[in-house]
Subunit: 316 residues, 2 copies
């Protein structure tokens, strides 16, 4: 496969799919975002997906696309191409590969979306130039993917990498997954919003309450803007989130001793508000040799990681 | 190497070394525990070690020993045979392999002791019959080792596997390593003793206080005995420790999706006092597919894991 070959990478979210034509060096040659209705039988959603993929392939037929890699939020059985469970899509045991194969005459591979992002980060951010890399996707939820010895690590049933559901406070807030004090429940977008709501209810976040009453929407972006304007509650909120993220990074550094940890997703856009306390906390907490080795960066390819990783993972 | 070949495995603790002649199937053919004085220059301690090892080799000269694997509590540079840092031995940057090679005409390999235990658990408890195994050594401290795809995972600088220094309560008790709320600071022997001391000081552990005043020594064994006699403070102490261990196991299951997690070391001897709440907590917290896959067991080979693992790791 030469540098100019290309494959299809698809990132399947809860309301739409992103389809991209990806060159072997990770460059996106063409891409499109297509809405998909998931409020119907899975087979119907997949039929609609397949049509949109076919249209994209037809438009790019000169590229000679031979394979499709698709990342899905949820638990995936990669070998059989089954989505075991995806809370976002409302799917349980959906034979996605089989459904898609009935429509598309291509090799199809299914993978967890954060695993695709990790592979994207390994290929693009690290240029494949390290052995051990972890990726955290800090979005509404917090996902994770693990590359060890230059290979995606999937674990014994393909479920590995759920870094967002690592407990950093064993008696903390209940997470959507049923666990308590997961990283996601504290610093995922929904966790941050929940912390802000608690602050408003208890009267500690009066400035924020005014903003909301004036019509602003409670999002991590709003919390970041307020912190940049020195609102004390929001400044503290990001400091605490950074401390919690740092403690999670420290766990990863002590356990995996990686070359690199790449952060991506919306919450990483809060930049130094969360990163500065996170790195301070990490340095304070982790063992010296591995923390000096581990490079922590925010991805330069954020929006591309999912599709690029999905395509490239299956060009291996 | 046939089944009847043998190698030397050595487990180097803070006050003595255990030397064992280990067959390739893990059977211990001969072993001895030798005191070592570590209150002197490292070179002097190593000289004393080498003499004791030589004596053991001489006694077993018929076995044709060709290699020595040694496990050390601390951070090890395996490739250069240097002990980077061992708080237990009071060593920093000690070229152990070089020192030993001057005395012993054998191939010498140095490894972290919990990594050796993990390899021992993989060979003996699992019979090498799984891909991904984690091992937790629950002693005074809490160590860890990681076997992935049937190989010991060492990370990018050989420091991987510090599972005991995973935070399970980011704002919790300060650990000896400098971090806060590490698993070790909560359920390592010293952490349990500290919890009991805090209980006595605050008047919540009056029965325990009486036992100590009557001359008993405050150890995990005493805490287990008291809990078995239904002392309410100690019952609660083990329940909480179990909950905390369960939360750590849940992190490992969600992140590594292993076939197996093997527990060993003194604290695991508290048995169901800690295991029952730990497994309950694990089942409540972890994702369904990986938790159903992961077998959690206490090692059947506890005392042998370190020496067997050290010997076998270097027969590979």
């Amino acid at each position: 496969m030469n540098k100019n070959s290309a494959a299809l990478g698809i990132d399947c979210g809860g309301t739409n799919i992103k389809i991209a034509l990806v060159r072997t060096d990770g460059k996106i040659l063409d891409s499109v975002l297509e809405p998909i209705d998931f409020d119907c039988a899975p087979q119907v959603s997949v039929h609609s997906m397949a049509e949109k993929i076919q249209r994209f392939i037809h438009k790019n037929k000169a590229a000679g696309i031979a394979s499709v890699g698709m990342g899905i939020a949820g638990e995936v059985d990669q070998s059989r191409g089954i989505v075991r469970f995806s809370p976002n899509l409302g799917w349980t045991d959906v034979p996605l590969k089989k459904f898609l194969s009935q429509k598309l005459n291509l090799k199809i591979f299914i993978e967890n979306d954060a695993n695709c992002a990790a592979w994207g980060a390994f290929c693009l951010d690290a240029g494949r130039n390290c052995d051990n890399l972890l990726c955290l996707t800090l979005g509404t939820g917090v996902g994770g993917g693990i590359v060890l010895n230059k290979k995606l690590y999937r674990g014994s049933t393909g479920s590995a990498g759920e870094i967002g559901h690592m407990t950093v406070q064993y008696d903390g807030r209940r997470c959507k997954c049923g666990n308590f004090g997961c990283l996601e429940s504290l610093i995922g977008a929904w966790g941050l919003v929940k912390t802000a709501e608690e602050g408003m209810r208890s009267g500690r976040a009066s400035n924020l309450k005014k903003l909301i009453q004036a019509g602003s929407k409670l999002t991590p972006q709003l919390l970041a803007e307020a912190a940049r304007k020195k609102d004390p509650f929001c400044v503290k909120l990001w400091q605490t989130a950074g401390e919690q993220l740092g403690s999670a990074l420290s766990n990863l550094v002590n356990i995996f001793n990686p070359d690199r940890i790449v952060l991506c997703g919306g919450v990483s856009k809060a930049g130094n508000l969360i990163l500065r306390p996170a790195l301070r906390s990490l340095k304070k907490r982790a063992f010296k040799t591995p923390v000096e080795k581990a490079e922590i960066t925010v991805s330069k390819y954020d929006q591309q990681l999912g599709v690029a990783g999905a395509a490239l993972l299956f060009l291996e």
